[in-house]
Structure formats: structure tokens, C-alpha cells
Subunit: 552 residues, 2 copies
């Protein structure tokens, strides 16, 4: 089994170095072209082969389940998944834990990296699976669903490995006793897992958000039951199948990783996560169920990433063209369905200092709307940026939002030549006043609020209030004034929100880089955990000390 560790040790070492240095690094190429000429066709064929058939599995199951998985691009997925029960998967996980929990951190890391290698070898199948279940554009699905998700997985393995390797083992402990012989004790420490882990998938970024918890649990010896979102199943089903193959090849019980699929009519999450054997729950998704988990799965360690209200504070800039070039992309990519998408743009009614001159509020807002309309004016480009809408609730939120203020730009349907049934909409841009309340709640999807405030100080205060009440993951501020920057940083720290300044280039605030940026601080209602820090891994295992008095 240590063969796998040896095969991947260099990459793991490099990842451990990366989480310390936090400078740029990636283990998996993000450009589709890096994977060779045949890869796209092979991946497409492989994906097509999955459609309309029962999902092949070696997992013991009781027939197949018709599911609610649907494609925002309107294609018929028609995949059925193995029907497994909560009781059976939990029992199988407990059984599988025995050997997996006793494996060394090296052996477990080797298996984890081999799973990542196999996934990395076929990113196109996963890209199609993510695209067609989430509505992401192909390129986003390829990158965020493939290499970027793999990077976040490797990051979690690196954290877990480093944390487990902190103890010198074995050692001899000697306590001086003055003139008498010292006390001598031989000590070692044995790492054991917490117990059965559950990973509950999200509908929009099942791999990127799911892998960190799954791999952190696996690397620390916990068997993982993967319960995908009932409407986005395939990406995590592919992960589980790949993981089981690696586990079996490495001589472990493949039930170290199991798939448990449910339907909206018969959700199993609450039953699953409150089983006494379940010791860890990772969750990404809506706030209601996330908060329920935090309050009710009290027998387990619960790691949540929920929702939030992300804000942009516009104070001053050398030039607004580059500001809006960046903002128009970050506020519209994947139709605002990223948990990091900025929803609110706060603009002072007195206008914005641009290159030393004051530009009026009206002119600023007009330029912002024009930038978004311009970006999305071309249908082909709009399709590539917007992707498609996942979920009927997201679609209906457009109209809901339009009724909460003055519509500056209406949402329009965009046609896709490749997918005539795709649900694609440009965002609605709604203007409200700082005294309004609509913008202070999350309006997940293609909804942009322009909030007219009395001053930048009020902009910051409103962003902070929304973050403290509803949570927030990202802030973005534009300012040339160091005092304003300090003020924003102070408010961000108080609110527990990561903040970026003056992004005008090709980096968007929505994006966080593995090995460098933390995703979610864990310090406000947007989630209680962070991808990935020490706290995300340190409590997934426990240490049993063994002390032996040497024979006389």
C-alpha cells in the first residue's frame, strides 16, 4: 500500500510546502488543452455513455432510484442511481472504518492522491457532468469542477497530513528526580478517526465545495458517506466510483467511500446526520438546513458553508472603465450562482472620485449598467459567461427582485444555439436606497442591487450590517484613499468577511486560490468553517497516548 504514497510523495510534499508559503501553486493544469488532443472527445463519449442508464456501481444496493437530477441546459440526463439505505451505508461505513482508521497517514494520503490522479486524468467527463448538472459554462465546469476542485482536495489532504505528522513517535520521556533515578517512560501516540463522516453536496459546485471535506475526512481515517444534492448527483457519484476503485485496488474496503442518493420526496439527510455513529458532517448549501445541522447534529463535528450577502463598496478609483470591466464579469459569471458573487454595489449619492474628478452618482450608475449590458449584449458571449440557471427558485427570484426597487436593467432570456431548452437569463439590475432592506438578504442568482448611500461610510456600515445579519463571504472595495481602506478592513474583520481591493484585471473577487486564499472565514452566518485551515482538519482525528514503563 505504501507504493501509492511513494508514487505521490513528491506532490504531497509540494502541497504541504504550498500551504505554508501560500504563494501561487497548482498541481493540476487548468487549461483544457493541457490534456491532449484526444481528451475532449474521449470525455464527451464517456459522458454520453452515462446518460439514460443506471449508474454502474460495485456498491451493494437495492435496485435503482429515479431521481430529480435535471440539467439547466435542458438535456435529458436520465441517469438512475443505486438505491442504498441510511442504515446499510452507516453499517458498512462502520465496518470499513476498522482498517482504514488503522492505516498510516502515509497510506491514506497515498490513496487520496491516487484518487485525485485518476480524476485528473479524465477532466472532460467530470466537466460535462458538472456543466450539465449545475448549469455552469463548459469552461467554468472544466476548471472549477476539475483542476481547481482537485487543488482544493489536495490542499485538504496536505493540511490533514501535516496535522497528523506533528507528533514525534515513539520517544522516551525522562523526568529528573534529583539524586534519584529519573522517571523513564516510553511513549507513543496513535491517531484514530472520529467516526463516520457525512458529506452533503451542493447543487452548484458539488466537487469544488465537496472535495475538501471529503478528502479531509478520508485522509484522517474516517469513512465518508457522500450524499449529493438530490438535483446534482452525477459529479459526486463519479468521485465515489473513482474512490472505490482506488480503495479496492489498494486492498481497502471500498465502503470507505459510499454514495447515498435521495430524492426531494424522500430526503434522508436529517436521519443520516443524527445517527450516533456519525461523527463528522460537511455541508455546503442553503442557510436553513445548514443552521439546522449546526443546532441538531450535536453528536457530530459540523462544518458548514451556507449563504451570504456579498458587497462591493465603490469609493474612488483612478479609472472606472477597468473597475466595471472587472465588476461586470464578477457580478454576472454563472448568473450570480456562486456563493462568492457580489450582490450589492454601494455607490454614494455624492458621486465617486475618479482620477481626481468627481463623477456624479447618475453617471457612475449609468456606466455600470452600460458595462453589464455591453458585456452581455452578444448572446454567444452572454451564454459563455452566464451559464444556465439551476433551480426554479432561482428563476423566480428575478421577478421577485424586480419588485423591490427601480429596475435599471431588465433580465432577458438568452438563447443557446447548442442547447435550445437551456434556461439562461441576464441579471436584473435593481436600484434601491440605503434605507431599503431588500439588498440585505441573499437573492441567490442573477440579481444585482445598486444601493444609493449617503456616503462611503454608510456603504461600509450597510455592508457590515448585512454581513452580520445574513453572513457574507466576500467584499470588494474600490478606493484610492488609505483611510477608507483601513475603514473597510476594520469592518471586514469585525464582520468576518474576506475583502479584496481594487480588482481591475483578470482576477475576480469570486475566485479563491487553493493553497493561498481561505474560502469562508467561519466567523459569520455564511458558515462556521474555512476551506482550508488547521481547524478544518485538526478535529477530524483524535490521538490515543500509550505510555509504557520500560522493564527493569
Amino acid at each position: 500500500m505504501s507504493d501509492l504514497f511513494a508514487a505521490h510523495a513528491e506532490k504531497l510534499d509540494r502541497a504541504v510546502e504550498a500551504i505554508g508559503a501560500r504563494t501561487y501553486w497548482s498541481a493540476y493544469p487548468e487549461h483544457p488543452k493541457a490534456y491532449g488532443e484526444d481528451a475532449p472527445v474521449t470525455g464527451q463519449t464517456s459522458f454520453d455513455g452515462l446518460l439514460g442508464t443506471p449508474f454502474a456501481t460495485d456498491q451493494v444496493h437495492d435496485g435503482y432510484l429515479e431521481v430529480a437530477e435535471g440539467s439547466p441546459y435542458g438535456i435529458d440526463l436520465g441517469i438512475e442511481y443505486p438505491a442504498t439505505s441510511v442504515a446499510a451505508t452507516v453499517a458498512a461505513a462502520v465496518s470499513a472504518q476498522r482498517d482504514w482508521g488503522k492505516a498510516s497517514p502515509e497510506d491514506r494520503a497515498g490513496v487520496c492522491l491516487e484518487i485525485l490522479r485518476r480524476l485528473a486524468d479524465d477532466p472532460f467527463t467530470m466537466a460535462h457532468a458538472v456543466m450539465h448538472t449545475t448549469g455552469q459554462s463548459f469552461l467554468m465546469a472544466f476548471q472549477a469542477g476539475g483542476p481547481h476542485a482537485l487543488d482544493r482536495a489536495l490542499e485538504a489532504v496536505a493540511y490533514a497530513y501535516r496535522e497528523q505528522k506533528r507528533l514525534p513517535d515513539p520517544l522516551r520521556w525522562e523526568k529528573p528526580q534529583g539524586s534519584r533515578d529519573p522517571l523513564v517512560i516510553d511513549k507513543r501516540w496513535i491517531i484514530r478517526p472520529r467516526g463516520v463522516a457525512v458529506a452533503i453536496g451542493v447543487s452548484t459546485f458539488p466537487t469544488w465545495n465537496g472535495y475538501p471535506g471529503i478528502f479531509a475526512s478520508l485522509a484522517t481515517g474516517n469513512p465518508v458517506i457522500v450524499k449529493p444534492h438530490p438535483e446534482t448527483i452525477l459529479p459526486l457519484a463519479l468521485l465515489v466510483r473513482t474512490a472505490r476503485g482506488v480503495l479496492a485496488d489498494a486492498g481497502f474496503d471500498p465502503n470507505v467511500t459510499q454514495l447515498l442518493v435521495d430524492t426531494p420526496q424522500a430526503l434522508v439527510g436529517k436521519d443520516l446526520v443524527t445517527r450516533p455513529e456519525v461523527a463528522i458532517v460537511d455541508y455546503t448549501g442553503g442557510s436553513a438546513f445548514g443552521t439546522w445541522l449546526e443546532q441538531n447534529a450535536t453528536q457530530a463535528e459540523v462544518y458548514t458553508e451556507k449563504a451570504g450577502v456579498n458587497s462591493v463598496v465603490l469609493d474612488s478609483a483612478p479609472d472606472l472603465t477597468s473597475v466595471f470591466r472587472n465588476l461586470s464579469v464578477s457580478m454576472t459569471m454563472y448568473s450570480g450562482q456562486m456563493c462568492t458573487t457580489p450582490q450589492n454595489l454601494f455607490v454614494p449619492e455624492s458621486g465617486v472620485r475618479v482620477g481626481g474628478e468627481t463623477m456624479s452618482y447618475d453617471d457612475v450608475v449609468a456606466a455600470f449598467v452600460a458595462a453589464i449590458d455591453g458585456l452581455l449584449g452578444d448572446d454567444a458571449r452572454a451564454v459563455a459567461i452566464l451559464g444556465a440557471l439551476k433551480g426554479a427558485a432561482t428563476l423566480s427570484r428575478i421577478e421577485e427582485a424586480a419588485s423591490t426597487g427601480t429596475v435599471l436593467s431588465e433580465s432577458r432570456a438568452v438563447g443557446s444555439p447548442d442547447f435550445p431548452d437551456a434556461v439562461i437569463r441576464t441579471p436584473v439590475i435593481v436600484e434601491v436606497d440605503g434605507t431599503d432592506t431588500a439588498f440585505a438578504s441573499e437573492m441567490f442568482g442573477p440579481v444585482i442591487y445598486v444601493v444609493k448611500t449617503s456616503s462611503t461610510s454608510e456603504s461600509v456600515a450597510l455592508a457590515k450590517k448585512a454581513a452580520l445579519e445574513s453572513g457574507a463571504i466576500t467584499w470588494l472595495a474600490y478606493t484610492t484613499d488609505d483611510d477608507v481602506m483601513d475603514q473597510v478592513v476594520d469592518a471586514a474583520v469585525d464582520s468576518g468577511v474576506s475583502v479584496a481591493f481594487n480588482l481591475t484585471g483578470a482576477l475576480f473577487v469570486n475566485q479563491s486560490a487553493a493553497y493561498s486564499d481561505f474560502h469562508v472565514t467561519g466567523a459569520n452566518a455564511a458558515g462556521n468553517a474555512s476551506l482550508t485551515d488547521g481547524a478544518f482538519v485538526a478535529n477530524r482525528f483524535r490521538v490515543v497516548g500509550v505510555r509504557v514503563e520500560p522493564a527493569a
Copy 2:
């Protein structure tokens, strides 16, 4: 403020080294004589001056509270404590957090180490305070309540400091973009506290068990409200007063550490820990309230150390005299009121291999009982070992236990020449069968069970069953057989119990060494946290990332 860090940097560095190396180290001398000739008298005078008076404090309060604090040695303490309310202490903590949370890890560590230094300079006052509130013997109160507690505090500070210093800050992140210019972002990370921390003290080891959580929270920027056990207040009141003095001298709001005292008639714990501002709770005490905390203080990170059933498995030994010399002390010191005291001695009915010969069950048990009776036969020695009993429930448990099996040695009252009203009892030794159930629950106090089993395998199985059902912190096994040792280790890992083997010398299983041994694994019902590991500190702070695109 950084003066304090500079003054203590060397000690902190040494402590950080110690938690990595885990070999023997101590920062505070454990021998009373190390503190000079005058220290005992000064400490006694200082302690006497506290008795029968209101406890002086700079904390805003509303009069003084008559409390239920009592001395197991029967002296009249008569100390009144400042009356403070939950609402007022929480509000003051929130206010104090602002500057403390923004202080650097260095400044906070400096303050923490200065608090420890002041406590270390006067260990005799604390020793009397611990002795007379807990019933510990003077020497135990001196060592466990003073230097050993300070070592565990320093260990927690070292963990907290190391964890906060993991991030390089600031740095420039550059992502290559092929032939185009790289993406360049300046990054820094700001550590912020979780929020208001609450430390709930235990009646028996208020400082040793309380300091780690208190100092871990302080070192990571959280203000701490210290709520002592209503019957053991003085030791933590002294800590809070010392801490407030250091904080004020260092220019911080002294409300970073506050005392909140309650009475059995008006307990405030539940109200306090469920306040939304409370983000961290540390608790040592009985299982009922600990489990309540885990299930109900869901808005906070809860760290518990509760109760358990500790076991000794006697399989084989070169010689039983040294075995029982060690065991008789560990099972009787402080009358079994340590959470690490072994309660059950499992002996196979077929007897024990001793130096190659089989010694019959009856002879083994007789030798064990004789060893205990012999150790405690002399009243002066018995007083020094047993200490006094804390709490009426502990006293009543003796009789309760006697009714559950065959009494091998009755409990007897021991008189103390110095403290005629002290409540001192030798343990009752009760023999039961492996099929009985009494031994499987914790009988906190001077109760020893000898459990007759069918074999060592059954001994191990019963110890495991009790640990899984009721929790356990320590196991001790005596065996000369490597297979048995493996079997015990396996069971210990499965049960999440630290295990020691073949202790015959001056180290007792009850004792765990700071910087080396973990106290409680966190993996069974005896508690969800460990003193001290990465998980104990990593989630007490959060990190806010700041990204800035450099000006063009």
C-alpha cells in the same frame, strides 16, 4: 506592550519547542522549597487575609454575594464575591474584545506569560486556596494547583501562538498567465477572535483543568468570562484578579477577563452560555451539564471534559509488590476525586501470572487489599494521600457502592490533627463479578471495584464496554505478554482511552505531563476535547484575508 513579549519570548519559544518535542520539560518548579524560605509564610498570611472578607476586585459589581463555597477541611472560608450579572459581564466582554482582538499574537502571548509569571511568583497563596476549596492535600494542591497548572496554561499559550503564526504575512502572490503579464495580488491575513469565551470551572481542579481553556482563549484574542464552580471559587477568583492586574498594567481593558460567581440557588451557567455573543465554552465537570452544553450551546464552540470510568487490567507481572505499591497510591490519592483515577481493577478468576508462576485470584485480591490497607493504615500518611472529600454526594457514594457487591475493605473515617472537622475517608473496596453492572458507571470518590472476570480478554472487553458507554480517560494494564499488550492497545484506540502499561515506580496513571501527554482524547463520552492539541486552539480564532491589486 511588546515589552512583555520580549521579556517572555525565550520561555515561549522553549514551550513551543516542548510541544513539538514532547520530551520532559517544565517551566515552573514543582518543589515548594524552590520558592525560598519566606514564601510559605507569606503565602499562608496572604491566604489567611482572604478569609472572612469580601474579595477585593476592580471589576464593576453590584454588592457582594454570599456563596456556597465550603472547605472539605472544615475551616470557615467566609469569603464573599462581587455580584456581577450575565448581561453586564457579556456586555463588558464584548467591549473589551475590540482592542484585545486586534492585539498581535505576540502582545497577547506576552500578557498571558506575565499573568503566569505573577501566579508563579506566589504559589503558596494559590496552594492554600486550592487545598481548602477542593480538599486536596497541601502538596497536591501546591503542585497540581500551581506549577503543573501553570505548565498546562503555558502549553495552551504555546499551541495558540504556534497556530496563529502559521501564515506568512504579508506576501505577493503571482500567477503566471502564459505570454501575458502574471496576475499579481498582495495578500495579508488578519487574525480575529471568535467572540466571547466562557470558562466554567470544576470543583476539584479549578486551575489545572481551567487554565488551558482560559489561556487558549485569551491568547487567541477572545475575552474570557470565568464562572467558577459555585462551591470552589477562590482559586479562579485569584486568577482573574491577577489577570486583570496584568491587563490593566499593559494598557488593555481589564474586562478581557472577568469573574462571574453564582450560587446553587441561582445558577447562571445556562443563561450565560446560550447568549448569542458567547462563541466559546470550556467546561470541566459532571457529565449531565457537559452533555447539556454540547447539545444546547450550539452557537458556540464547546470544549468539554466530563466524567468516565477508568480501568486497570491485571494480566501478568514480574512481581506484584511493586504493582500494588503503585496502584494503591493511584487508586487512593485525593480519594479517587481525580477524573483520571482508576476505579476498576479487573482480575481473572484463573489468577495472574507473577514471575512465571500463577498466583490465585484470591491471593492476588488479598494482596491488593492488604497493600491499600497498609498504605492507609497510618493516619498521618492516610491524610496526606487521601485529602478530604469535596461534596456531600461523594461521601454518600461510599455507602451506595458498598451495597453493590462484597465489601473487601470498609471505608473508615480518618482524623486530621490539623483540621478536626475535615471529612476524610479511606476507600471502600467492593468485589463484584464481570456480569454485574455497578462498576460500569462512574462512582466518583473513594470507591474501588475489584472485578472478577473469566479471563484477561473479558477484562479488556468489560473495560472497553464501560468506556464506550460511560467514557474513560485512562487505562492501566499490567502484562508481560506482548499479545495482550497489543490487544489492550487495540481496545484503547477503539474506545478512545489513553493507556499506560506496567507502572510500578513513581509515575502514576492519574498524572499527565504538560507538553507531552494529552489529557482526555476527546473521542469518547468523557469529553469532546483534549488538553492540549491543535484542535483545542485552531478554532478559537478565524482568519480574514485581505487581497489588494497593486496600483498599475
